[in-house]
Symmetry: C2
Subunit: 352 residues, 2 copies
């Protein structure tokens, strides 16, 4: 799907007097191709009306312009006010009468409170919340090109993790393993990492979001590797947990078997029209029945794409159904506090 | 300065009935030591009253607890409401009368509009904007430990750039150079990069925020390297621009000489009590006089620390004075559109 088509779908939901302000970097990349350089600094706003699309972006940044978008190199907050005021005054005569853009929606989950305060005080404008459902309905279903980028990221991740496992040796630190992953993945074509790598030795593996430390690898230890490459924005997410040594702890083997089976049961459910909660349920019931329910302390998976966490979330209270060409992780785990954890994860394309 | 001392200074500005909600990851690291894992996902909120400090953080995340802070492993938005409600109801009797916390300030530049909408509707609370000046007054002046971390980051950056310049060879892509910088800097102890590296060959060097591409290095080209290592959060920022080859363009040498002198003039001004605008002025006047004023398209520098862009900004309209132990970049540049650019940059500690 071309970017212009995505914009058209969004615009088709607007009346002549309605406008939209988006600010989430991944939305903006999805709709315009513009890649934010530093995601924790505000770089862009996208202002959409029935008749116009304006991208406000920093003048120093590289931009590949596409047809149908007005590019405004400027500075917020003042230029944001200007772009919205201009778009408000843009008089349409499509329906044989003059129409100003008065009714605005803003993505309140992406605009900072001071930004929203500023724009919502612009004269002759009324504001309400943009429902992110509209854009998630689009972004959740990946098109051919998106799936290709994901597959490239996933392939790089798989290959790099294999290389990494072969390279593990006594005395390497978690941080060194993380650096090796990053360097090798980028050598293979990753443009970035999808998220900060989780490399956890021994008891660290019992904390799902452990961050790499200087702790060094010792014989007969668990090694948990949860990593992802990113290609042109699209994320992969993969976890492998191994016993480093020849004498695995018996309980490690026990939880490994349970989680591996739970994974298979859940992965089998990943099909169009299945409820996300049922995918979670398949893994959770098996782990519960095996007596480790309280040690499975997170949901079974999550959607991903231009962001590492997107809808649908595969959790027990979800009411969402899976649909064809969604991308979801399946990642059950069991965590024995102070000893070790085991998680197994792949990212799966929802298909029949 | 200990974290607790920083918190005490912040609390000393509050009355018994006042509270504060912060959400900016760098503020939270500065005040509590907690390091956000993924800066583009909301992980923490800090709720501060005269008598209490509560950090709301994700239960999966590693946390090093410090004395004087209550840690609440939970989920926003609901738990944020709970933490604020609890703090509101926290009755103090310090002044021999019971006092609820009713008057709240929130950092509107860090809270998303929907988050602010949620908390500002909590019963019996009044809200106003937290003035970030209060925290910038603290964060701008670096203490001994912060300067040490910066120096480590700066040292790694300098050393890595030297190595990198020696490694440059025909056929390497901008992306490869960027990967080499990252890998080598991390080998030397960088915990992260301070910002996405700018590696620009040839005409790309005329765009200050160019991002690395697959373009390969050719003989007799400009190479601009603008990079920074980060150590435990603290950023370094350094730019070197070289002519790769033996026959430098005459105009390249001309702008190099002008910028190098402008750098020296500006760097000489970096002293306590000097106006930031005068540092900018020193570089700008020299470049203006040399006839390249219109090609010096950005400010002369910026503060940095836990973030890559902090106050003070060294720009012409600043009214701020430099103070001892601020950290600022000095980075004049001249950009000849379609041909090449030249920028020279170091980060300087403000001292007598």
């Amino acid at each position: 799907m071309q970017l212009q088509q995505r914009l058209k779908i969004l615009q088709s939901g607007l009346e002549d007097h309605q406008g939209l302000v988006l600010a989430r970097p991944a939305d903006i990349q999805y709709l315009t191709g513009f890649k934010t350089i530093t995601s924790n600094e505000r770089e862009t706003f996208l202002v959409v009306t029935k008749k116009s699309v304006t991208l406000l972006y920093p003048s120093f940044s590289p931009v590949e312009k596409i047809v149908g978008i007005d590019y405004f190199a400027g500075h917020w907050p003042n230029d944001l006010k200007k772009v919205i005021t201009d778009a408000s005054n843009h008089v349409s005569d499509s329906q044989e009468h003059k129409q100003r853009v008065t009714d605005w929606q803003a993505d309140l989950s992406a605009l900072f409170a001071d930004e929203y305060e500023l724009i919502s005080n612009i004269k002759h404008t009324k504001w309400q919340t943009f429902s992110r459902d509209k854009i998630w309905q689009l972004r959740q279903i990946k098109d051919h090109q998106e799936l290709q980028l994901f597959r490239a990221a996933n392939q790089i991740t798989l290959q790099t993790v294999k290389l990494l496992q072969a390279k593990l040796k006594i005395g390497m630190s978690e941080i060194e393993v993380a650096h090796e992953f990053e360097y090798s993945a980028k050598k293979l074509g990753a443009t970035e990492l999808a998220f900060p790598s989780v490399i956890a030795f021994g008891a660290h593996s019992a904390l799902p979001h452990h961050q790499p430390t200087k702790t060094v690898l010792e014989p007969e230890q668990v090694v948990l590797i949860d990593v992802g490459a990113r290609v042109d924005g699209y994320c992969a997410d993969l976890t492998r947990t191994i016993w480093f040594g020849n004498n695995p702890d018996q309980q490690f083997l026990e939880i490994k078997n349970i989680v591996d089976t739970a994974y298979e049961l859940a992965a089998d459910q990943v099909k169009p029209e299945v409820f996300a909660a049922d995918v979670d349920g398949a893994a959770r019931k098996f782990i519960d029945d095996a007596g480790y329910g309280h040690q499975f302390i997170h949901s079974t998976g999550h959607g991903l794409g231009l962001e590492i966490h997107e809808p649908p979330s595969l959790f027990m209270n979800s009411t969402q159904k899976l649909r064809k060409n969604m991308l979801v992780t399946v990642e059950p785990g069991i965590y024995l506090d102070g000893r070790f954890g085991y998680r197994y994860e792949n990212t799966i394309t929802v298909s029949t």
